[in-house]
């Protein structure tokens, strides 16, 4: 099995398990693809986590405002209808669990990897780009009537121009 197949399997399994266990929600894979270059502009929430080790890269989870609120409502057993600190925190933590689980799978083949603290962005008509030219492995899921995307880009560390996590005070170009 090559890295792409391993990542797709790992992302699919991790996302299904995290959504089921933590949120009581069922997700189904609808599409897997390799994303080259800059993706189209999007609306909603994007959560990022850096991976670092002998291989390095970024994992991300993208969803609509509605699904972000649903994730928060299910996780905290409250009613969330607008983006607030709780929603951002819940989406960040779910991303942490999904990418953390993928990281554990990857460590069997790639050795120990570090995980950064997640960062969540909410907005309209924005694009994201990671420094370097590594392709993203993308798995799209359907959750109720909403689309959820989980993506990872990963390359040997000597080919990655931007390795996260980084220390406070250290110069860092964030190209997101």
């Amino acid at each position: 099995m090559n890295l792409k197949e391993s990542l797709v399997n790992s992302i699919s399994g991790a996302t299904t398990q995290v959504f089921s266990t933590m949120l009581g929600l069922e997700v189904q894979v609808t599409e897997t693809l390799v994303e080259k270059g800059m993706p189209e502009a999007t609306d909603g929430l994007v959560s990022f986590i850096g991976l670092a080790g002998t291989w390095a890269g970024t994992g991300s989870l993208t969803c609509s405002k509605n699904l972000g609120c649903r994730i928060c409502s299910q996780m905290l057993m409250t009613e969330s209808t607008s983006i607030d600190e709780d929603v951002l925190d819940a989406v960040a933590e779910i991303t942490n669990m999904v990418i953390g689980s993928v990281k554990t799978d990857l460590e069997e083949a790639l050795g120990p990897l570090g995980l950064s603290i997640p960062t969540v962005v909410f907005g309209r008509n924005f694009t994201t780009k990671s420094a370097g030219s590594t392709d993203w492995i993308v798995v799209r899921f359907q959750c109720d009537d909403e689309i959820l995307s989980v993506k990872i880009c990963l390359a040997p560390s000597d080919k990655v121009s931007h390795v996260i996590p980084h220390s406070l005070g250290q110069t860092c170009v964030v190209d997101v």
Binding site: T21, M22, L76, E85, N96, G100, S101, E107, L115
Partner: protein
Amino acid sequence: MESDVLVVDDSAAIRKILQRVLRQTGMAIGTVHEAGDGQEALDLLKAHKIDLVLTDINMPRMDGLQLLGAMKASPQWTSIPVMMITTEGGETKVGEAVRLGAAGYVRKPFTADQIKEKLAGIVELALPI
């Protein structure tokens, strides 16, 4: 006799979930203190009598393994049981937690039952309940 608990996680969502799970265990839980990282946790340990610590590993400033190490190196905190609740499932981190003296280890994602089961074992061994 009630036990005071310290929950350490940089996610407020996880701290809220763990508060809820702790209240559902049937254990005599007193105050549940919350900290967002290891340094905040040490400050709370200095200020309060804590009977049990539940901590994440990956956190800013001071991570959960550093917190565990600091607690086990301190005579006043070394006997407090510490349960790790983390996304870290690799042998390196689990081994490090065990070596440092963690009383239990639960991987995220977790169910309330998994937390309750681990806590029951820890409580039986260590807490004055």
